[in-house]
């Protein structure tokens, strides 16, 4: 039997948006709970594990998957490779939303979320976290400026402002690239202060360099992923020829990263750990195989670069592997000192495993990001640059499903 219910138009919002809204709702409830009763009430964080899933996923992963923004801005504005322009706006939007997600997640994670702005006035110059905080706050502003014309263009009265921003965009682009370079690498520097706690397979004085190098590969993969997904969801054309060029660059960027990784291990004499550290060795090889070696081979094959499914598969696998790296560095590879084993039980908990509410917060924030991307892409000309050249423009626009009509 088939039910035949007709909903009023404003209620027809599709399955994906509904799921996203539900996930956001769960996260919201958990966050309220956390603000009322404390972080310990909903998470497994402890004296021994002050940083857990939130930092690994929301901060480390959230920042690195937003690196497409500065890559495209640099390519289009600084290197003036104009053919990549269709990818610029979606990348900048992804970055903008990504950083907002990072900021929102930190508001849940911080003990004093209302004091987050203290970072702007109380500076401790030796703190890596301060640098990241300042960079992220400033870069968020830069991204807002870079993306503003897209919104402003939709309102004829505001065209002048959009034009003005466009005229003076260059200093902001350069500032954005510098800030991104700084904080993408500084995320690695965050771990420099715990050589005793981080496994030697990952701890190295050149962690910042590693982080920046891998961030470039993540950014490229992320652009491929986000273009592929949005082309499927919005049923618009895919810029396969452009993505193929990005995919061609991936084996090179990943190759540099691979050389750095093993070169560093060889120089510091830590190569032995590759096979002797049990789970740590497995995690290290998993990250290398999934995130570096496999994509290098995959994207060296022309067929994989030129077909939408090949591009998507390769990008997803690269991302999984490189995100595993961020988890390894910030969580799996971190062993807090054993003195804690003898602590009274209330301080204990040497083994950390994220709780359901903890993960729910992150998923909810992520859902909000996807939702926001969908809504903005629907109502503002994010993909416009490409529409102009495509004949099915009119057709494609009509076929857009409604990601959350309100």
């Amino acid at each position: 039997m088939k039910l035949n219910i007709t909903l009023p138009k404003f209620l027809r919002i599709g399955t994906l948006p509904l799921v996203l809204i539900a996930l956001m709702g769960i996260a919201f409830v958990v966050a309220i709970w956390r603000y009322a009763f404390g972080i310990g009430d909903i998470s497994d964080l402890s004296y021994s594990y002050p940083w857990g899933f939130w930092i690994s996923f929301d901060l480390f992963t959230g920042v690195v998957i937003s690196s497409g923004g500065f890559l495209m801005a640099g390519t289009v504005y600084i290197l003036r490779i104009k053919e990549f322009e269709p990818l610029l706006r979606p990348s900048v939007l992804t970055a903008f939303l990504g950083y907002i997600m990072v900021a929102v997640a930190l508001l849940v994670d911080l003990g004093q979320p209302l004091r987050i702005w203290y970072m702007m006035i109380h500076w401790n110059h030796t703190s890596v976290l301060l640098e990241i905080g300042i960079c992220v706050m400033t870069y968020l502003t830069v991204l807002a400026i870079e993306f503003a014309p897209v919104v402003l263009e939709s309102f004829p009265k505001l065209h002048k402002i959009a034009h003005l921003i466009h005229k003076f965009i260059m200093p902001f682009v350069i500032l954005g690239v510098v800030l991104s370079t700084l904080h993408q690498s500084s995320l690695g520097s965050l771990l420099l202060i715990q050589p005793q706690k981080l496994h030697p397979l990952w701890w190295t004085p050149i962690l910042p360099v590693m982080f920046f190098t891998s961030a470039i590969s993540v950014g490229l993969s992320m652009i491929i992923l986000e273009s592929s997904l949005s082309s499927r969801y919005f049923q618009r054309g895919l810029e396969t020829h452009l993505l193929a060029k990005l995919a061609k660059a991936l084996p090179i960027t990943l190759g540099v990263y691979l050389l750095l990784k093993f070169g560093e291990l060889a120089v510091s004499g830590d190569l032995g750990y590759l096979f002797t550290s049990g789970v740590m060795s497995v995690l290290f090889w998993a990250e290398i195989f999934i995130g570096v070696l496999f994509p290098m081979v995959w994207f060296s094959i022309k067929k994989n670069r030129t077909t939408p499914s090949g591009l998507l598969t390769g990008a997803v696998i690269t991302l999984l592997g490189l995100i595993l790296n961020r988890f390894n560095v910030s969580w799996f590879g971190v062993k807090h000192p054993d003195p804690l084993y003898y602590l009274p039980t209330f301080m204990g908990n040497v083994d950390y495993f994220p709780t359901f509410p903890e993960v729910a917060v992150s998923i909810g924030i992520f859902s909000a990001g996807i939702m926001a991307f969908g809504l903005i892409a629907k109502y503002f000309p994010v993909f416009e640059a490409e529409h102009e050249t495509e004949e099915e423009h009119a057709h494609g626009l009509q076929a857009v499903p409604v990601p959350g009509d309100d």
């Binding site: 003990g111 970072m119 110059h125 050589p195």
Partner: protein, 258 residues
């Protein structure tokens, strides 16, 4: 009482009887719940095989490092290292990021995981009892210790005393004063009859741990400026090249159309 230039503790593991009076004294003195004590006593139990038995106890609290990693890590500068030894924490600046807990090699700073937004979740750690030491008294934990396992005084003198004690009883002690050089030196010195590792103390280099990250941080501004300059140069260069190329193309076009 003579004025102390560099306050420090000396803990002698052989003297500790695991009575935990210091934990009570600390809680009472600083008016904090026992659950959140700033000093904790770890009984390691009896180890070894009969008749070679040993028992060990470790009293653990903030090491008051000479180059504190918590202070180096804190983004808002909530930590200060006083000239005369104590490392103190200022809750008025703390944003609750818990980076200090990650940075501390000894796992000292504690966090109010049970406090919500209204009460405010802060870090807690040993303050070195400033209300006592600056009035000529010993810290609460030291004063209450019945066996003098915990002692307090001038750092240099305590180091001297520790070495004298080792020299007097070489069979009783391991010939090392933990904290004399570890992590660039600490103001909580430890004497032990069992390996320091068994007491749960990390093996640390003599150079301060935070040297690497602080060096990287010093390079940040120069790097940012030069990277910005390079990018600007590239921008100008590419723009000029583009203009020239387009100009040539336009000229050619014009010539062709003639």
């Amino acid at each position: 009482m003579t004025e102390i230039k560099h306050h420090a503790y000396l803990f002698d593991a052989t003297r500790c009887i695991d009575c935990r009076a210091c934990m009570v004294a600390c809680s009472v003195e600083n008016n904090i719940e026992m659950d959140k004590t700033r000093i904790w006593v770890a009984g390691l139990g009896v180890t070894g095989k009969y008749p070679d038995l040993q028992r060990g106890t470790m009293v653990y609290h903030c090491m008051h490092c000479e180059h504190p990693d918590c202070m180096s890590a804190c983004p808002v500068g909530a930590y200060t290292k006083a000239e005369d030894g104590p490392v103190t924490y200022n809750p008025d600046l703390c944003i609750g990021c818990r980076y200090c807990m990650n940075a501390c090699p000894f796992g000292v700073p504690h966090f109010d995981y049970d406090k919500g937004l209204v009460e405010g979740a802060f870090i807690d750690k040993c303050t070195f009892c400033p209300q006592r030491i600056y009035n000529g008294q010993e810290p609460a934990c030291v004063e209450t210790c019945p066996t003098d396992a915990l002692e307090y005084g001038e750092r240099d003198e305590l180091i001297k005393r520790a070495h004298e004690r080792i020299a007097a009883h070489p069979d009783r002690y391991i010939n090392h004063v933990y904290g004399e050089h570890e992590n660039g030196g600490t103001s909580y010195l430890i004497l032990s009859h069992v390996p320091f590792k068994d007491l749960g103390l990390p093996e640390l280099p003599e150079e301060p741990i935070n040297e690497v990250s602080e060096t990287v941080m010093e390079m940040t501004i120069p790097f940012a400026l030069s990277w910005g300059a390079v990018l600007t140069a590239v921008t100008v260069g590419v723009a000029a090249y583009d203009k020239k190329k387009n100009g040539n193309a336009a000229e050619k076009k014009a010539e062709e159309s003639k």
